[in-house]
Amino acid sequence: MAANGTSVSIQDLSLNFGAISVLQTLNLDVAEGEFIVLLGPSGCGKSTLLNCIAGLLDISEGRIFIKGKNVTWEEPKDRGIGMVFQSYALYPQMTVEKNLSFGLRVAGIAKDEIAKRIARAAEILQIEPLLQRKPAALSGGQRQRVAIGRALVRDVDVFLFDEPLSNLDAKLRSELRVEIKLLHRKLQNTMIYVTHDQIEAMTLADRIAVMKGGVIQQLDAPQTIYNRPVNRFVAGFLGSPAMNFVEGQLETGTTAVFKTGDLTIPLDRYSFDGTGDKSGPCVFGIRPEHVAFGEAANSMPFATDAAVEIVEPMGSDTLVWTKLGGRIFSFRVEAEKTLRNGDPIRIGFDPARASLFDTPSGNRM
C-alpha cells in the first residue's frame, strides 16, 4: 500500500486530439479503497479520462500514478486495473468460464490458480450456474455480472467502470447498483465509476467529480455537491426535478437581500462563500424539495403567494409548477395533496438552503 494511502493519482493530465483539447491539466487523487464517480453530460471527457487511466488512450501531457507507481507509459495489463464496459464487451465465441479466464490464460497463470480465482469470482457474483454458457445465452444483467467478474479474477487494485449500467433496463439498473455497492463494501478496492446518471452517482460515490468540458467542476462528497454546488452548472446538473433558478440582483447593505421584480428575499441566514457578497446581478437557486407549502410556508423566513399552473403527480410525491418573480418555479408536495390548476397557494423557503450564483461567472457566492 502506498504510504500516503493514495491509490490513483492523476497529475496535470492533458489530452488533445489534434487541435481539440479533450482534457485540460486535470488533477485527481483517489484514496485507497475510495469509490469515485465521474459524472457529467456526454462529451464532457469522463469516459476519456477513464480510458487514459486504463492506458487505452495515449495522453498528451501529465502523469498517472497507480499505487505509487508511475504507469504513464505502461500497457493496460501492467497497470493493475480491471475494466467493465458499457456494452459488456464479452468475447462472444467463448463460454463464460473462458471469458473470465482469458486474461489469466494470456498471463500464463497456472491452471489450478485460474480455477480457484474463477470459483471465487463466480461465488461472489453468483454466476456459478452460467459458467458453461456463451454470452449470447445470457440476459443483460447476467452479462454485466460476468463482465464485472472478468475484472474481479484479475485480482487488481483498481476497478474502472465505464457506464456499466447504461444498457440495462431501469429495474435491473437499480438492482445491480445495489450489488456494485455491496461488492465495493466486500472487496474494499478502489473504484472509479463513470456515469451520466446522477442517481447512480449520488448512491454509489464516496466522492463525486462533476465534469464539464474536460475540466472537473467540483470534487466532493455527494451531499456537499447536492447542497452546496460550486457553480450553476453543477447545481443544474444534479437533482431531478432540477433546481429552480431565479435571476435578479444582490444588494448588500446592512443585511444582504436578493431582489427580483417586486420580491425581496432576505439573505441574512445565507452563508456566503469566499468570493463573497458583492452587489450585482446574480441567480438565486433553490431545490424543489426545499420549498415549503401551505401552513408550513408561513413559518419560513421567506414566504409569498402564488398560483398553481401545472400539477405533475409522480406517485410518491407531486411536483407543482408555479411562477415566482415571473419565472417558472417548481416545488414538491406530498402525493395526498389535491391541487387544481389556478388554485392560490402560499409557498416559502429558508434562504439558508438556497444557492446564490454570480451571473457573469456562474460561480457560487
Binding site: N51, A54, L56, E75, P76, K77, I81, G82, M83, F85, Q86, S87, A89, L90, Y91, P92, Q93, F102, G103, V106, A107, R150, R154, D162
Partner: protein, 311 residues
C-alpha cells in the same frame, strides 16, 4: 360530459356487433395483378439467364451427328457422356492432347496457395488498419485503395520484367505472388471494414486482459470473423480460378491454368469443331466457382451484409 361518454360507449358496442367488417389478418390473393406482374417478370428474367446454360448442358450431352441437325434447344435423343470424358482427358490444344486435366491441376496449384496467402496477409492488414491506429495509417490506406483502381494492363509489362529479374517468370510461384498482390487492395478494404464494424470495447477489453497484437487477432478477432473469411475465399477462388490474363502472360504452356487451356482447346481448329466437347469443357471449367457459390452462398450474403457495405 357524461352524455358524451354514454354516446361513445354506444358506438363502440355497435362496432362489436358489426360482424361483417374486416377482422384478423388481411387476406392475400395469389393471382392478384401485382403478383402476376412480379412473378411473371421474375420467371422471364430467370429463363433469359438460364437458357444459355441449358443449351450448353444439352449440347454437351449430344453426339456430333445430333448436333449437326441444328436443333440447339431440343433435348438429347441419346445421352452420351463421351464429350465430357474427351474434354477432360483427350481434347487437343495446338500443343498436346491430354485435355483439361492438366490445366485443372495447374489451376488448383495456383488457386490454393494464392487464396491462402492473399487472405492471410490481407486479414492482418485490415486488422491492423482498423484496430491499431499507427502513424500514417490513413495514408497507407488511401494508397492501397488507389491501388485497387489502377488498371491491370498498366502493370503487366513491369511485372514481367520484375519476375524475370528475380527468376520467377513462367513459374507457378510467380503467378501466385502476382495474384496475391492484386488481391490485396480489395481484400484489405473488406477486412478493414469488417473489423471496424466490430465493437471497439471488445478490443479494449482484450487489451486490458493483456492480449497483444497477435493474441487479439488470433484469439478474439479470427473466431468472430468466419463470415468475412468466407466472402474473401469466394471472391478469391472465383477471381483467381477465372483469371485468364495473368495466367496467359505469366506462365508457360506446361503450367497454363485451366482457363487458358480451355481457350486453347476451344480455339484450336483441327477439322470439325466439336461443339459438344467445347461445351463440356466450358462447364467443367466453370464448375469450381459454381460449387463454391452453392456451398457457401448463405454465409456469403451474411458476410457481405455484416461488413463489406459498412464503413
Amino acid at each position: 360530459m357524461s352524455d358524451h361518454a354514454v354516446a361513445l360507449s354506444a358506438t363502440s358496442s355497435n362496432w362489436r356487433d358489426d360482424a361483417a367488417g374486416p377482422s384478423g389478418p388481411k387476406p392475400r390473393h395469389m393471382f392478384s395483378r401485382r403478383n402476376i406482374f412480379l412473378y411473371g417478370t421474375l420467371v422471364v428474367v430467370a429463363l433469359y439467364y438460364l437458357l444459355p446454360l441449358y443449351v450448353m448442358v444439352v449440347t454437351s450431352l449430344k453426339g456430333m451427328p445430333e448436333i449437326r441437325l441444328g436443333n440447339i434447344f431440343s433435348p438429347p435423343l441419346e445421352i452420351t457422356f463421351e464429350p465430357w470424358v474427351k474434354a477432360w482427358s483427350q481434347a487437343c490444344t495446338g500443343l498436346n492432347c491430354d485435355g483439361l486435366s492438366r490445366g485443372f491441376w495447374n489451376s488448383v496449384r495456383i488457386t490454393v496457395p494464392s487464396v491462402i496467402l492473399s487472405i492471410a496477409i490481407a486479414s492482418v492488414n485490415g486488422y491492423a488498419l482498423a484496430n491499431w491506429r499507427f502513424k500514417g495509417a490513413d495514408t497507407f490506406f488511401v494508397i492501397l485503395i488507389v491501388g485497387a483502381f489502377i488498371p491491370y494492363q498498366v502493370m503487366i509489362y513491369p511485372i514481367v520484367i520484375i519476375l524475370r529479374e528475380i527468376g520467377l517468370y513462367g513459374s507457378l510461384t510467380g503467378l501466385v505472388i502476382v495474384h496475391s498482390i492484386f488481391g490485396m487492395p480489395i481484400l484489405t478494404l473488406l477486412f478493414r471494414n469488417y473489423f471496424t464494424s466490430m465493437p471497439e470495447e471488445l478490443f479494449r477489453a482484450a487489451r486490458v486482459d493483456g492480449a497483444g497484437f497477435w493474441g487479439i487477432y488470433l484469439r478474439i478477432m479470427l473466431p468472430m470473423s468466419l463470415p468475412i473469411f468466407v466472402v474473401a475465399i469466394i471472391l478469391q477462388v472465383t477471381g483467381i480460378w477465372n483469371d485468364f490474363l495473368f495466367g496467359v502472360v505469366y506462365t508457360r504452356p506446361d503450367t497454363y491454368p485451366m482457363t487458358v487451356q480451355l481457350n486453347n482447346i476451344v480455339n484450336s481448329v483441327q477439322g470439325v469443331k466439336e461443339y459438344n466437347v467445347n461445351m463440356a469443357a466450358t462447364i467443367l471449367t466453370g464448375l469450381v466457382p459454381l460449387i463454391v457459390y452453392f456451398i457457401s452462398g448463405k454465409l456469403f450474403v451474411r458476410g457481405i451484409a455484416a461488413g463489406a457495405v459498412k464503413g
